[in-house]
Subunit: 333 residues, 2 copies
Amino acid sequence: VLNRVSQPQRKEPTVAELTKSLIAGDRAALARAMTWAESTRPEVTQRFREVLDRLPRPTSPSIRLGVSGTPGVGKSTFIEAFGQSLLGSGFRLAVLAIDPSSLASRGSILGDKTRMEKLSRDERAFVRPSPSRGFLGGTHARTFDLIELCERVGFDAIIVETVGVGQSEVAIRDLVDVVLLLLQPSSGDELQGIKRGVVEIADWILINKADGDRVAAAEATRMEYESAVSLFDRSVQVEKLSALDPKQVTAFWARVKDGLEKKRKTERWLGQRRQQVESWLQSQVSVALIEKYLHSAEGQDKIRSMALKLEVDASGTFDMTRGRREIEDFTRG
Amino acid sequence: VLNRVSQPQRKEPTVAELTKSLIAGDRAALARAMTWAESTRPEVTQRFREVLDRLPRPTSPSIRLGVSGTPGVGKSTFIEAFGQSLLGSGFRLAVLAIDPSSLASRGSILGDKTRMEKLSRDERAFVRPSPSRGFLGGTHARTFDLIELCERVGFDAIIVETVGVGQSEVAIRDLVDVVLLLLQPSSGDELQGIKRGVVEIADWILINKADGDRVAAAEATRMEYESAVSLFDRSVQVEKLSALDPKQVTAFWARVKDGLEKKRKTERWLGQRRQQVESWLQSQVSVALIEKYLHSAEGQDKIRSMALKLEVDASGTFDMTRGRREIEDFTRG
């Protein structure tokens, strides 16, 4: 270790350099820009924003799709097949994952490598595996930034994937044009994970794994959900499908595409995008407020000095009344 | 509908009345106080805080346990059995669920009724089913409030249950003394849902459903995780168990209790609770900032007028550069 030769540091590109590489279609540059977007260092996210502002806005509308479902339901398999159908229609596709669980560290503990292998290798597609450090609304704001980035570098179809049963599902409706909810033939157990809130935001409910000896169970589940959603005052399509069968997936994509094209003609689509601006503003303002008042050096100092004043006694509790007074002073000042 | 007799409105109790009922051990009052705590109306949460401040702080330390796991893993069955063991040790138990998915509406779409039936009926226990409207850090702050409330009305064991793979798992370590992560014998598929971040916060990993023909698979999964966690620089216990076998559950509870008692003697426990004060402050300040600047009538007016300025064009996008300038003005002003 004594005479260790110092490694040459890979130099970070400037804003102008990264913008240039992005316009040239450099995939490594795209990954880099996303890493900047997701940085917890404000000066880095600031650089990302400068890059974004230098890229041209798309001239024709993109397609934004949300794919949601609990772990094990077959999201990756479905997106792999569905993505091929989109590429077949001439779209350039970016797949982004909202992963609120990667706060502490990144990636899953076992085998995430083979996710969407075909799409990952296809030059018309870009797959960004689960990176977002979701916290305090940051997930939503950052994902919107990533969508915008992908569109500005030429992707005209975006899939936003969410991994489970959390807030991300509810937030997804503020990010995309169409939400697909994947379920599997039910065994009772899984239904617990599907909350009304999640079902209510879906435009399509897909019972996946309708293959082999699970076709009948899939149909039963489909009917169950079809009757459940009939209570809603908006239309939700419920279908069963096997993501392993490319023909079924392509036929399904044709129906989604058709639905979207009709929606665009009625201007409902533009209305929805307008509403999303408000949601974008809300989340960006939240992030900005928290960065300014809480995550700043000054904010952190205040928190620490407040914590010191609130002594935890032998019962393991502290004086919350006093704590709340401190917080009032904080937000007033 | 013409001559409909107006229903007598159930009168809301005053702060003093509710406090009195809580001290008398009234369970309906406890449910009411929780509803106040989770209200989106600031004047109602303010009333909740006044109630909380009037209740006495506990004199002896409680036990705070987190139970986490994806849907279908058997959390309810486990907590039902585990809870019986706690009651058997003389504890009074409250079970709280963090459910970030119930933002849009409440409760699961199918069959949530039979959850923890025995515990729900036991007067030494109180089960609060998944109510929190999690948004922008609010979940964490409110759950802390509920824990505090339960302890102040005499519950000395609190289980905080989280439903999935999201932020809530990561936030849970800031709420409890010990985190139990439930898994099931793996089929490869489910592992995707378990992210490193979630595993890293667990003190105990329990492979549930180790019964019948799944015992061997459970043992294989246990060994897999045991080798995975051996890479961590902190100790995590990995066990398999069947939540259907009360003996196994009681034996497991004895080990958890033993571990906790040892932890308390080393003062590590008090150190952890002290750190949690800081985390409580952070989340309360976030909520206060967002309530003051964003959710206030003034804040919402500003957001709407900003949204109006940002016109969505035919491509479905808007001028983000301008949007960010607006946000800067917002947080500066």
